[in-house]
Symmetry: C2
């Protein structure tokens, strides 16, 4: 019988969220954290202080928050577990994307290294989760990849889908149904007025994607110099 408490869980949600938002080492506004976790800014602020006291992040008032080395390590541990479970749920249990994400969100908090490592091995040491997000290594830190949100591309630009930012489950099913998956080749055909929906060619098929959705699709640009 283990303890009844769960100190870690809440803390982990914060760290994970911060890590997800701050893809490029930027400062993360506390407001954004609160939004993503659907809690008040007061509560988020409070917790940010606690996490700072524990040495997991640094808060620059009126600017935002940045994970310390320790904080980042912890956050990557969570992402690692999340993504490994996603692999398992997808490949072995054959569950649909949306469920996979939601279940992984719960499984990620079971954090014994022995379990995570055994799972990793069982899965054959995968490098990416089903949505294309890189799986942090058991130790060491993930190096960044050069990605651009699909929403930042201009008409005519081309690229390959690297990953879907996994922030909620809803979007995953939506995109899965439209063949938006890691590896898909994409080209912007048209952008509607007022920064509106994008018409894109996704692996040859025409799709229309709203801007908000496009922000979650991370692209590796393909320079079409040779085409011109």
């Amino acid at each position: 019988m283990t303890e009844l408490h769960k100190f870690a869980e809440s803390e982990e949600m914060y760290l994970k969220t911060i890590a997800e938002i701050s893809r490029h080492g930027n400062l993360v506004p506390v407001t954004n954290i609160a939004e993503r976790l659907s809690i008040s800014t007061v509560s988020a602020s409070e917790m940010v202080h606690r996490l700072q006291d524990r040495g997991l992040l640094e808060h620059t008032p009126y600017k935002g928050v940045r994970l310390t080395t320790e904080g980042r390590k912890r956050a990557e541990g969570i992402l690692r577990r999340h993504r490994l479970w996603e692999c398992f749920l997808t490949e072995h249990l054959g569950l649909p994307w949306k469920q996979v994400h939601d279940f992984a969100c719960q499984l990620e908090h079971v954090s014994e290294d022995a379990l995570t490592d055994a799972l990793d091995k069982h899965l054959g040491f995968p490098s990416f989760c089903p949505h294309g997000n890189p799986i942090p290594p058991a130790q060491g830190v993930l190096e960044g990849r050069e990605t651009t949100p699909l929403s930042d591309l201009d008409v005519g630009q081309e690229g390959v889908v690297l990953c879907i930012r996994e922030e909620d489950g809803e979007i995953l099913d939506y995109l899965d149904a439209r063949a938006v998956r890691p590896g898909s080749r994409v080209r912007i055909e048209e952008i509607a007025p007022y920064d509106g929906p994008r018409s894109v060619l996704m692996d040859g098929e025409k799709q229309v994607l709203g801007r908000e959705v496009a922000e979650h699709i991370l692209i590796e640009l393909v320079h079409d110099n040779e085409t011109e």
Copy 2:
């Protein structure tokens, strides 16, 4: 992103514990619950009231507690998940018994039916966990099996190990190392004075087991009428 809270976890530990203690529909003293969960009787009592208010159990003062139908259903759901995860951790990840139990104790609280059922299917719908405890069905209630603790057998009696009561992880490794596993044939050779350690023949090998340990080994008696 799921909610930050975890109401269920503590509640589940209570239900599971009660279900484990009350194998035969007996009333479970609140004191025992407190002991098993390593909390004060005051806290246990408090929680028992809460669970009663939620209709999960009935408390008869000075007697004990009994799960309601709903409470039992919930408890069996937890045991089901626990034991399915144990199967997975043992068979697929190849982890040792003690770890398996401890990890399953955490995984059991991830309780989506879709996940549990997918896991069940992936494992080939097993009927027993690695320690021989029956896995409750997705719906319906587990019917009891006739078992006797090894500690209740007399010298000369024989039986087959049906299961190890899984209450903590420590004991599992201990017994595993002594070939005490579901299916092992056992015969009591000697009981030391003062209800002391039992000398037993376990699948032909001589082993000595303390009374406390023997209480956790559940036996199906084999009537040796024909032998005599």
